[in-house]
């Protein structure tokens, strides 16, 4: 899919690219997921039972965005 090759004329417009929009979607979704986990902060075992996992997810999201920004484009 996406591979047939015939010439097409697209108009380059100013504005936000789909890559950025999908990045924003990632940030919104991940923020919500972290909020869900952190909303259980008042459970007595939160620090030992939950925090390592939530921290791991948070680091992964940051790494995802950083590596995505650094990676070469799909050209």
């Amino acid at each position: 899919m996406g591979e047939p090759m015939s010439a097409g004329a697209e108009t380059a417009e100013r504005g936000v690219t789909p890559f950025v929009w999908f990045g924003v979607a990632i940030i919104i979704g991940a923020t919500y997921a972290l909020f869900m986990g952190l909303s259980y902060y008042n459970t007595p075992t939160f620090t030992t039972a939950a925090l390592p996992t939530i921290a791991g997810v948070a680091v992964a999201v940051v790494a995802f965005l950083v590596i995505g920004a650094w990676a070469p484009p799909n050209e």
């Binding site: 899919m1 996406g2 591979e3 047939p4 090759m5 015939s6 010439a7 097409g8 004329a9 697209e10 108009t11 380059a12 417009e13 100013r14 504005g15 936000v16 690219t17 789909p18 890559f19 929009w21 999908f22 990045g23 979607a25 990632i26 919104i28 979704g29 991940a30 919500y32 997921a33 972290l34 869900m36 986990g37 909303s39 259980y40 008042n42 459970t43 007595p44 075992t45 939160f46 030992t48 039972a49 939950a50 390592p52 996992t53 939530i54 791991g56 997810v57 680091v59 992964a60 999201v61 790494a63 995802f64 590596i67 995505g68 650094w70 990676a71 070469p72 484009p73 799909n74 050209e75």
Partner: protein
Amino acid sequence: MGGSDAGTPRSVVAEGPVPVFEQPPAVIRFFDRTEEVVRSRLAKLTFFQRVFQLDRDWMTRITMLMVVASVFWGIVGAFDIFGFETQVTAFALGQSLHLSNQEIYSSLTLHGIRMLFGFAQQLELALFGIIFVTAFGLVPRHKWAYYLSVLLVNLSMVLMEGPFYLFPQFNDNYFPALGWYFYSPLGIRGLSSYVASPLWYLGWIALSVGVVIWAAWMLIHFLDWWRSHRGQVRRIPPFALFVLATVILIPLSYATVLASSAWDLLNYFGVGPVDPLANQVLFWFFGHGIVYILFLIPITAFYFLVPIFAKRPIYSYRAAFAAAVIFTILTPVLSIHHLYLTPVPPWSAWLTMALTFFIIVPSAITFFTVWMTTKGVRRGEWQWNAVTLFLLLSFAGTMAGGLTGPDNNTLAFDIDLHNTMFIVSHFHAIALLSIAAGGFAVVYAAFPLLAGRLWYSPRLAQAHFVSTAIGWSGLVLFMDLLGSDGILRRSLIFPLTNAVVSDQVWLFVFVIISIGAQLFFVANVLLTLFKGELLTVQGLSLDEIVRKMAQSTHPKPTVPISDRKFERSVPRARRERAERTWITVVVVLILGVLVTTSPLTVTDSTTIGTPSDPPAGAEYFSLVNYQYYWGVQESGLIHGSYSNVMVVHAGQWVAVNATAQGATGGFYLPFRNLPTVDIQVIPDAMSYWLFQAPSVPGVYAAPDSEYNGPWFGQDVAALVVLPATGSSSLAQYQSNGGEGDIYNPPVMGANGAFLLVDQEGLFDNSVPGPTLTASPGAVSFQYYIPTSSIGIDSYLVNVTSNDPNGQLNYLAAHNYTLPYKVGIYAINTTGGNLVPVTTMPLRVGSPMNETATLPAGVYVYGLVSPIPYVYNPAGESNWMTGSDQGDVMGMWGILWVSP
């Protein structure tokens, strides 16, 4: 669409004589002829011709049939949850329940079944089938196998609902109040208090067989394509890898539910050994597999559609291939991660936790690969139509739902989350925001091909997207907030704090928005079928056709649909280096989390599965969950035998061993200032736990955390924490919010208290009833059971009759006096049962005055032992329709007398 009409019977549409030995079997010819007669007659009616595309090839026709059926089950499933949420919200707003417990929990069960299998999975099968056949240019064959599959899938939905009575009294409320899944032996005749219809199990068998036939059909066609293109094809298209993964996962997953359902059915008729633990593990191999079978809808949508709209190939084919392989290998082995509170061997819990963390890897690969596919696409090259908008929603939704998965998978954290609304929120984030959103992207991209017409209204498509995104997001958010409020999942009767009431009302609002949003979609589908512009595809590639169809959902399209020439300028090695870097980070983080959380995981799972060696002076609880109440035997500093009441001294260690009779239950003490206790309790197995009681004396609620039949609201026990020595008031308990959960009963003064019994047979909608406090000396309060509260949900009047007024007639005939005693009972901590202080007959319709002179101590008041009840409205309960009976104890509470 779908190749030539391979199913058109040659004997009907004559093309010349066909040798007898080349003709299809007689039964197939009969089916062909019958179908042709029915089809040709219905095709004369415009409505049927358009909706079912009766002038098209059989593959299109059957796909439309599946789409229509899935929409039908989706609508019915939406009504199911509307009914459930209406009742729950009415309760939250202080109104009484209009439906019976059985009806309400049946609607919840059927909501899950219809949405997952009738709607989502059927739509998946329909779309994957037609896209696969179209994209690969296959000529579909084995028409009647496909029809049989569709028939069985839809028949299963009917069977699972079970039989219902039209007369002498309409009744559809026995079944199947099981939860969308079931824990054997819940529902099995002779083993469980609540008995489902055997049609429920036959429904599961029909569903399993139907879906496996579909997978076999797909596999045969894939092999057709593979054989005919051997040596010509370098690689399978990325999206097809995930279709293939689905086809492989279906038999692997459904084999287990087929086995567990057949086992249940045999048990239902008294045949074969009963092993609830093994049966449950077997079921959850399916329970996990089905999540990934459905999750492959958005995954396939991303790999199929994002490259089409980006007009460039996927970022890394090898990464996509690796993701498909890892999904396929890991999915079938993760059953145990749904059973972290179950007494399974600790090594299996730890291993499943580790493997579950590693199934993050293919998801991480997928989302990185799909995201990077869009990198380099300019704004003007991308169109935000309904297809790409739903892809975006699915992308965000998968993050929201998927990234809460690691929380559930961390065993020690799962103890806090497992039975709260957090799980429901997590599940719906995946089911709606990820799976259904991805499904809608595919529907908007494929439906015009089925209808032969472009989408009628871009505005309706936009309205559908916006309202759906708002509705689903709010719905998921408020489910989570109810979880953090402390509300149990499947909770029908719950504490009415301000936050809970507010969150429940908002949840209901977003349920209505979510349902209403789908009206835009249904309207657009109907308008498209009857008024849509005809779709012409001559000269267009498949990608261009998809873009053209999607374009009809955009009010002012500017991006050309034509393919564009694409030449790689970034070498594969550079792109794969980025992929490898990302996956390395993911694996390192997984290992880090695993190392950090493993010690607590091993400790917790060992504690559930093996008896602990408690400190000296510990209390020993021997618990049996009798489905609707707990039997308690205690030894240690306190000796006693109680129902629903567990007694311990402040700060004392407690060693628990627990089992169940009738259905799997859950022993749950949701402390907020101490580690939560939450263990699953299974018939024919023993679960263990060791915990330290709160240091503050008081009454701590112990709701049954597993759904084990439709009397859940009454199904709460209490841990009574006595002072370590002497007596103590509840002042400290009250001053810090009860040092426990919101399920703890409210505290109120005993003298002058007026305890009203509701239509569920509970004191003020609370189980246990309010904790009454008094000083030593004279104590006086009243119970009152209004005659108006006596109805089908009140277990207090155990009358089964064809007469809807049978309960009231019984009361009138017995002077409004029931054959039970209520009173005040002292907790005897040195052996024996509760010691009666006062007793009197239980009466309905007039206040009962409770008066006694009491020394300091802790007492139980009300109806303090379980009473039998049979739910049998209109006498229509039997082994075929289902039944519910059991011992219930709900009208009781604790009286705390202290200086």
